[in-house]
Symmetry: C2
């Protein structure tokens, strides 16, 4: 399994927004800005069950992460792969994501919303720049 080189780990640990792309039922890529965590070498993010991205991933697990260092376009990380979906029933994961971005409260999810942890199993990793 390809791994993200150490040169770009520091970039992945700063609270930047990333671009997560799934494939919509139309076949077009759907890209959204997301918070994420870089945990034990893996890219993980949180989704609510009513989100289109979640439904896209149930139908097609193809998922690509892209991060551009906002201070310079020269540093980027792309992780292309397959999403695995696990429940986050006590919201422990989403709370840890929010903490990384400076929020110490749980999200205000609706009563019918379920939280899931998405982990990208990488097929391709590309980095640009020195990190």
């Amino acid at each position: 399994m390809p791994t993200i080189p150490e040169s770009h780990h520091a970039l992945l640990k700063r609270p930047h927004g990333c671009a997560i792309t799934t494939i919509a039922p139309s076949g077009l890529p759907q890209t959204t800005g997301m918070w994420f965590l870089f945990v034990d070498g893996a890219i993980k993010f949180s989704l609510l069950s009513h989100r289109k991205k979640y439904r896209n991933l149930l139908a097609n697990p193809a998922c690509t992460f892209f991060l551009m260092d906002p201070t310079t376009m020269s540093n980027t990380v792309e992780v292309r792969g397959t999403a695995t979906i696990e429940p986050d029933p006590d919201k422990a994961f989403v709370i840890s994501v929010r903490a990384q971005y400076g929020y110490d409260s749980p999200p205000k999810d609706g009563p019918d919303d379920d939280r899931y942890v998405i982990t990208i199993e990488p097929s391709v990793v590309n980095v640009v720049g020195g990190g």
Copy 2:
């Protein structure tokens, strides 16, 4: 055809890097950081004929543009659509892209490289934030 609301035009005219996604032969989304121009309401960027993105678009014109305001994650623009490909034989287009990003010289393309102008014909436009 959906259009990008005026609220986000100023963001699109600043020289930020965007994320361009095509679909690789594997079926996975391929995302790369790109320079672009916002011209007459359309998203346009330049590609060399040897780039994987160019070959992806020849096989499948599905193409998604995503821009996140680097000063705040709250402003984003997504344009999902179909790429049209036109030649840029005198490099006039790529020179205008480079000018937007502060470079007043033509790109150093190889002798076997052809330049193309990619324009996204939008199927879906999504904006987040106030622009």
